[in-house]
Amino acid sequence: MTIRLDMTMSVDGYVVGPDDSVDAPMGEGGFRLFNWLDRRNDPGPSGQVVGESMATRAVISGRRTFEHAGQWNGDHHDGVPIFILTHEVPSEPPPGSARYVTDARDAAAQARAAAGDADVLAMGAGAARALLRVGELDEMELHVVPVLLGRGRPLFDDLPRVDLELVRRLTTGDEVEPAQRVMHLRYRVRR
């Protein structure tokens, strides 16, 4: 029912480091953002939030995120439907449970219907902005990594004003080594 954005960003708001390309999808130094995922199978805040993401029953992703992730070989998790937002639908169909959608409202409606009572996982800066612009994003789970990447691809840019409410803050403890520490902030989008 809830469409929840799931994104990792630096304190300065970047989701990818500078000079990203097909060969370097996370840009220079950008993989620093994913160190916290080394704890995804452990008990604790990071394991909890990843578990919640994997309990969703549909995925909405931007095309860029989809391509850079190797299209997840057609299965993000448990074979749930994946709706790929794209400006232009390629002639080749996407693999597995993925399908292309050109309209953010349409993608949201299809994903909600597919997920039933469960939540929808939204990924990628492009998908985030598209869903925010049409008022279809319900929540955001932001994994804020304690680093300034300095330059790169910002998560949020050129949006209308959106009021939020913090509904949860989970922070890794001292038992987690510094490189894997992260703060998980869950915001509800106010309407």
Binding site: V11, L148, L159, R161, V162, L164, R169
Partner: protein
């Protein structure tokens, strides 16, 4: 020796002012929201002390600092704090070119960030140095002069405006404090290295 600490309020999308900021409208369109955790007050910063404990604690830290380093833009948008940010502590105003007219009160112009921060630290002694303003924060981060960031994060996407962070080197941080106020988070990061 005290630390050099940046104190700023920012939106979840990293803005410290909305679009179209100007001397008459320092926080830009919609930007007042970022200072909503502060009490309404006047030119004197001390008049803005918040009523809640979390906000008041951050605020009191600001007023316990022994010197201020700020950018020219922030200084002028704030009316120069009438020459006294708090308790008459020295205010170092970073500018590219110092105007012929001296600034009011305990303020003085500096054109070099490193020597300005060094002077501020010497003046503050055991107390911390308050750093304020996005451009000055960026200069300090580039020069490795910042010890900590105290960010009050306001739950809004402003969408457009003036960013706190831009075009910086890679800087590792450590989250050393996180306190919830009414509808804002006060986060303190230590700069590593």
């Amino acid at each position: 020796m005290g630390e050099v600490v940046l104190y700023m309020s920012m939106s979840v999308d990293g803005f410290i002012a909305g679009p179209d900021d100007s001397p008459e409208h320092g926080l830009g369109v919609g930007g007042e929201l970022l200072h909503g955790w502060l009490a309404d007050g006047g030119v004197d910063p001390a008049s803005h002390r918040p009523a809640d404990d979390a906000g008041a604690a951050v605020f009191d830290e600001v007023l316990a600092t022994g010197a201020v380093v700020t950018g020219r833009r922030t200084f002028e948008f704030a009316g120069g704090w009438a020459g006294d940010h708090h308790n008459g502590v020295p205010i170092f105003v970073l500018t590219r070119a110092a105007p012929p007219e001296p600034p009011p009160g305990s303020a003085r112009y500096v054109t070099d960030i490193a020597s300005g921060v060094a002077e501020a630290k010497a003046a503050a002694g055991d107390r911390d140095v308050l750093l304020h303003g996005a451009a000055t924060a960026q200069e300090c981060l580039r020069a490795g002069l910042l010890d900590a960031l105290q960010l009050t994060v306001v739950p809004v996407l402003l969408g457009r405006g003036r960013r706190l962070f831009a075009d910086l080197p890679h800087v590792e941080l450590e989250l050393v404090g996180a306190v919830d106020g009414p509808d804002v988070q006060h986060l303190r990061y230590r700069v590593e290295g």
